[in-house]
């Protein structure tokens, strides 16, 4: 199914055709779960985030412009849901005892219990560290490093020069690395 077909289905849903919404859910749920998994590192959590995204789409479909690609609009909504999850996570982590939070559940991780515990701890630290980035740095970092998007494509979507994106990404990584090191030393 191509973008034009998605946009047509979304336009039909705007006119009240519920079956069009079901068709969109059927066609686009897999990529949404996969993206959410990059943020959450947990299938069930990724499913919950995807469900939240579809509910938002259901409620806010009037905000979609049928002349524009639906897929891009949907992914933007989904990204906001995932980032919001990240924000909520680091707020909870900041208020919780370090290492004691169960925000991150890496059920997909392979390896032994010790390795899984280390990964969970590192991901919690990452979520905390993301809170230290500027909005722009965070946006670039999650699009390129978390979602593993193509940097040139991300630059176009964020309406940035490619060089500016590379610089922003460089400083975002450095700042995260510094913060993660500090967090590790605090433990």
């Amino acid at each position: 199914m191509n973008d034009g077909r998605f946009s047509a289905l979304a336009a039909a849903f705007q006119r009240g055709d519920e079956r069009s919404f079901e068709a969109l859910v059927e066609a686009l749920t897999r990529p949404l779960i996969a993206i959410a998994y990059r943020y959450a590192r947990d299938w069930e959590w990724a499913r919950d985030l995807t469900q939240e995204t579809w509910i938002k789409v259901y409620q806010r479909i009037d905000g979609y412009n049928p002349r524009k690609p639906f897929r891009a609009w949907l992914f933007a909504v989904h990204r906001n849901v995932c980032l919001d999850h990240v924000r909520r996570a680091w707020v909870r982590l900041e208020s919780a005892t370090p290492g004691a939070s169960a925000v991150f559940r890496d059920r997909a991780a392979t390896g032994g219990a010790h390795e899984q515990a280390e990964r969970r701890e590192f991901h919690e630290q990452l979520l905390r560290a993301l809170g230290d980035l500027s909005e722009r740095q965070r946006q670039v970092f999650v699009r390129v490093d978390v979602e593993q998007g193509d940097p040139r494509q991300v630059a176009r979507e964020l309406e940035m020069k490619y060089g500016t994106l590379r610089t922003t990404l460089h400083f975002a990584r450095r700042r995260l690395a510094r913060r993660l090191r500090e967090l590790k030393e605090d433990l």
């Binding site: 705007q14 009240g16 998994y37 990452l126 450095r174």
Partner: protein, 262 residues
């Protein structure tokens, strides 16, 4: 300064390292720097932590039961929301269309009332025109009836139809001297308009302005056959009566009738 430069190079080569585009030596150099630089070691771990299979592989790895549970939960969630507060897109559409539809209905209603009012005004105008026409017809009928009554008087007196002159005279209520002159001129030659007795009776009852002029002329008429149209016409011409003066035809007829009786 050198350390920072190495860190910058490290980060620049990190993407190539992840993509597998670095040679064996470069990879060893990168790992060596990470071993000696704690911050770059964290950076390397971060990249390792975030590294996941490509999108297609991740999508394929999604457990089937997870997709089924999502569909089920989503359907339940949406059904609950629809039932409690959230209007469906169909309801939103209906609600969105309700206001303009009501406005359109109001406009149509107002337009209909306006058209109806205009139609009523038009009918009222027609009614007024009809009333005026009826009044005019009634007026004409009244006039006709009055004329008919004049003719009836003449007929009752046994004069109507007695001569072409009397029939013509009976059609008008009043007749001017000029019209009388014209009437007489249109009569066939030799038409008797009054018998001598009738004319004498007319003279006896006619207005003074008429009789004074005609009485002298009457004396000159010797015939016993009556007054013919030419003679009466000549009398009118010779007596030079104002042509605008008028006389009631009923009176002319009645007088002549009464004169006829006498």
């Amino acid at each position: 300064m050198k350390q920072k430069s190495d860190c910058d190079v490290f980060q620049q080569q990190l993407d190539a390292f992840k993509a597998g585009r670095l040679g064996k030596e470069a990879r060893a150099s990168l790992q060596g720097h990470a071993d000696s630089c704690p911050e770059c070691a964290v950076l390397l771990r971060l990249h390792d932590h975030l590294a996941l299979p490509p999108q297609e592989e991740l999508e394929a790895a999604i457990p089937v039961e997870l997709l089924a549970s999502l569909r089920s939960r989503l359907a339940t969630d949406l059904a609950t929301r629809r039932a409690v507060t959230t209007p469906t897109p169909q309801e939103r559409l209906q609600r969105d269309w309700r206001t303009p539809a009501l406005a359109a209905a109001a406009v149509v209603l107002l337009a209909s009332v306006g058209l109806l009012y205009a139609e009523v005004r038009k009918l009222q105008g027609r009614e007024r025109a009809l009333i005026e026409q009826v009044a005019e017809q009634q007026s004409r009928l009244t006039e006709d009836e009055r004329r008919t009554s004049v003719a009836a008087v003449a007929r009752t007196a046994g004069l109507a139809g007695s001569s072409a002159w009397q029939r013509l005279l009976a059609r008008k209520g009043r007749i001017s001297v000029a019209e009388l002159d014209d009437l007489l001129a249109r009569l066939p030659s030799g038409t008797t308009v009054y018998s001598r007795a009738e004319f004498e009776a007319l003279m006896a009852n006619a207005p003074i302005w008429l009789t004074s002029a005609w009485r002298a002329r009457l004396a000159e008429i010797e015939t016993e056959d009556g007054i013919q149209s030419e003679e009466l016409l000549r009398m009118l011409d010779e007596t030079a009566i104002d042509p605008r003066r008028s006389i009631s035809t009923a009176r002319l007829l009645a007088l002549s009738q009464s004169g006829g009786r006498s």
